[in-house]
C-alpha cells in the first residue's frame, strides 16, 4: 500500500475533484490519497465522489482556517 498526497489548496470547485480523478489511474487498490483543499464545497464533493466511484473516504476534517484534509482509500 502506498500513500500519495495532493495539494488542491486555492483551487475552485470542481478542480480539486478533477485533480483527484486525474490521479486515480496511478492508485492501486488499497492505496491512500491525502488531499488538502480550501474550496467550500470540497467536503461534500469528495464524499459524493467517493460514494459514486466506490472508493472509501476515510475522513475529511476541516481546521479553524477552513483547510480541509481528506484521505481516500482506493
Amino acid at each position: 500500500m502506498d500513500q500519495k498526497t495532493l495539494d488542491a489548496m486555492g483551487l475552485k470547485c470542481p478542480q480539486p475533484i478533477l485533480k483527484v480523478a486525474s490521479m486515480a489511474p496511478q492508485m492501486q487498490p488499497g492505496d491512500i490519497l491525502e488531499v488538502t483543499a480550501d474550496c467550500e464545497s470540497f467536503p461534500k464533493d469528495v464524499k459524493a465522489w467517493a460514494e459514486k466511484t466506490g472508493k472509501t473516504l476515510l475522513f475529511c476534517n476541516t481546521d479553524a482556517e477552513g483547510k480541509h484534509t481528506a484521505q481516500i482509500q482506493f
Binding site: C13, L18, K52, T53
Partner: protein, 117 residues
Amino acid sequence: MAKVAITVNGSEPGNVFPPFILGSSAAASGDDVVIFFCPGGAPAMVKGEIEKWDVKGLPDLKELYDGVLSLGGKVYVCELALDAKDLKKEDFREGIEIIGATTFINEIKDATLTFSF
C-alpha cells in the same frame, strides 16, 4: 454511471463555464460526457479564446476543458457553425470534433442527464 449530454448555444462565459464545470465533475465521477456546441456557442471553442477569460471566483476554464477530454469526455462543434460563423475546422482548439446534429442525437440516445446553456 450516467451519460451526460450538454448543449451550448452562447459564447459568453455564462454559457460556457457551466458545461465545463458540470461536465468535468461528471467525467471525474466516471460518467460519460458529451458536450455539443451549436453555432451560437462555437466561437468560444476557437483556439486561444477561453485562455482570454479570467472570471472572478470561477475556476480555470482551460483546466476544466482539458479535464473533460482527458477523462474520456467528448466536445463537439456543430458543422453548421463553419459557414454560420465563418470558421474553419482548423480554427478550433485541439480535441474538438466537428459533427452533424444526426450524429450527436445518435450518440446521446441513451443519455440520462441533459443540460442546455
